[in-house]
């Protein structure tokens, strides 16, 4: 399948850095070129605290135009908490750069299987004008949260009425949201994503039958960093 080019999130440029700077996802003032590799981002990062994720390394890879960063599992670990965005002394924003990298990866079909879980959100938004936790998430929540939450969910409509709200949170968008999602190309991309996910699952199935899958996580980083095991999490 041909890659899906998403021109506003991932404008085609010569380098990763140019694409990141021109993307709709990053601010015009993005200080990517001003990065001094101080590591304030990594020091502030909740994902870095508990995993080997490093926003500093990701920014370095982008500046070096090393496209292998798109294949790294690392880019899927960010919480989008924007702590790095707040703390960077050079007005860089690793969190928004990672958003662009994920979009670039998706264009090439990398990591698309992670989106399968959330695709329902688009259709639900078009129909109801609101978003919801996707069905698979609800199943996880039922398993984790148990009887009390299931009961609350069953009673949600009557609870809302008791509070003086409409029984369901459905918005009256006159079909405008549906029309917008069609015209921006969202549904077209969603179709592409679904096909790509199918293709990948099939491929994986075949691959599993022939070769043992290699573990790709943790294959990212500098030599010196690879030897550094990271600090153990500090639990109070």
């Amino acid at each position: 399948m041909i890659p899906y080019v998403n021109e506003y999130d991932t404008p085609e440029c010569k380098t990763l850095a140019e694409t990141a700077k021109k993307s709709i996802r990053t601010p015009a003032s993005l200080g990517l070129d001003r990065c001094i590799q101080c590591g304030a981002c990594t020091a502030s990062c909740p994902a870095a605290r508990f995993t080997d994720y490093s926003p500093r390394q990701i920014v370095k890879k982008v500046l070096e135009n090393d496209r292998s960063v798109l294949e790294s599992e690392m880019i899927w670990s960010c919480f989008y908490c924007y702590s790095c965005n707040l703390r960077c002394p050079r007005n860089n924003s690793p969190v928004t750069i990672v958003q662009v990298l994920r979009q670039m990866a998706i264009n090439e079909g990398i990591g698309v299987e992670k989106l399968a879980y959330f695709l329902e959100i688009g259709e639900y938004l078009a129909e109801n004008g609101a978003s919801k936790v996707p069905g698979a998430g609800v199943k996880n929540m039922e398993r984790d949260l148990g009887e009390r939450w299931i009961r609350f969910k069953k009673n949600l409509e009557s609870t809302r009425v008791e509070l003086g709200l409409s029984s369901r949170d459905i918005r009256n968008t006159h079909g405008e949201v549906q029309a917008i999602l069609e015209a921006t190309g969202y549904f077209e991309r969603e179709k592409w994503l679904k096909a790509k996910i199918q293709e990948k699952l099939l491929h994986q199935l075949l691959e599993n039958q022939c070769i043992k899958r290699e573990n790709r996580s943790g294959d990212f980083g500098f030599e010196s960093d690879r030897r550094y095991p990271g600090q153990p999490a500090f639990i109070i």
């Binding site: 709709i24 605290r49 919480f79 978003s131 609870t159 509070l163 015209a183 921006t184 109070i236």
Partner: protein, 314 residues
């Protein structure tokens, strides 16, 4: 930096939040209850849609879709004469503010969005540059509460002076557009000052005060163990600080702490003593709102009955 004196109390569009509506509807009714008693001029408009936040930050919506949906909601706000978008959710706040900034500064995106509207026969949604101001048209509902703390103080009905509270200030309010917030994002006091107006005793500091809740959009679902480890870190330090009530300003954080506290207790073999509320629910309670018919505490995962009995509310 925002100034409290500049926070408006009229023409506010109370921006409905999907996660509030589906998980903690009492946050919306509590906010309305408090706004009504503070004499705030606001409206709720069912034509307003989701901001796209959940899909935007799970990487399924592209920037153009988010900008176009933003422009449509701005048109809804302006058309009904309530252009000050006031959010219950910190992600709605950040997404809307950012969409407005993009539409004002990126001519290519604005023209594309407008051409989509014209193509679809939605001329009434067309966004002209500076139709909205990212600094003066976007607020979080609790900024309005902070601007009225004196009135909140006057209207308190219960003695919460023994309640030790801690605040979880939302990342998407304080860390996205960090130059345009009330107070210092490294040491936020927003929720604490409102809690103090209700007579509570907020703790000045606890370890990892500015750490994210751990929900991380796709992280809770794709990397659950890391997600819960982050949440546990904060709950551990709150337990150590002897907190009785944790106060929130974002439904996503509230889901993570209130819904998952019992899960963490089970999975990690720990026990926590704190209960959870959105600050608007706490203010409403303090003003005498019914705990179930207004605050909607029946939707919480960590039961509040012990707390409500202790302070003579039920």
């Amino acid at each position: 930096m925002k100034a409290i004196g500049d926070i408006p109390d009229s023409q506010l569009l109370l921006f409905k939040s999907c996660m509030v509506g589906q998980e903690y509807p009492g946050v919306e009714t509590s906010t309305c209850y408090v706004f009504d008693r503070l004499g705030i001029d606001y409206c709720i408009n069912d034509e307003q849609s989701c901001c796209t936040g959940i899909g935007h930050y799970t990487d399924i919506f592209e920037g153009l879709t988010t900008a176009a949906i933003g422009a449509r909601n701005f048109a809804v706000a302006k058309r009904c004469g309530y252009p000050n978008i006031t959010c219950l959710c910190s992600t709605c706040y950040a997404v809307n503010k950012e969409a407005c900034e993009v539409l004002n500064t990126n001519t290519e995106v604005r023209e594309k969005v407008n051409s989509i509207f014209r193509e679809q026969g939605l001329e009434n949604l067309v966004y002209e540059k500076d139709d909205m101001n990212p600094r003066t048209n976007f607020y979080h509902a609790i900024e309005i509460l902070l601007s009225k703390v004196d009135k909140i103080k006057e209207q308190k009905k219960f003695d919460f002076s023994r309640v030790k509270t801690a605040s979880h200030h939302a990342c998407h309010y304080y860390k996205v557009k960090y130059l345009d917030v009330l107070g210092n994002p490294e040491n936020p006091q927003l929720i604490d000052n409102i809690a103090a107006a209700c007579g509570a005793e907020p703790v000045r500091w606890y370890e990892d005060r500015t750490l994210t809740c751990g929900m991380g959009f796709s992280q809770l679902h794709l990397n659950k163990s890391t997600s819960l480890q982050v949440t546990k870190t904060k709950l551990d330090s709150l337990q150590k600080a002897g907190i009785e009530l944790m106060l929130h300003m974002c439904p996503n954080c509230q889901i993570q702490y209130d819904r998952y506290q019992p899960v963490i207790e089970k999975e990690f073999g720990v026990k926590y003593d704190m209960v959870h509320m959105n600050i608007a629910q706490f203010v409403a309670l303090s003003m005498g709102a019914h705990p179930y018919k207004v605050c909607g505490f029946q939707t919480h995962s960590v039961p509040l009955e012990g707390f409500l009995e202790k302070y003579g509310i039920i």
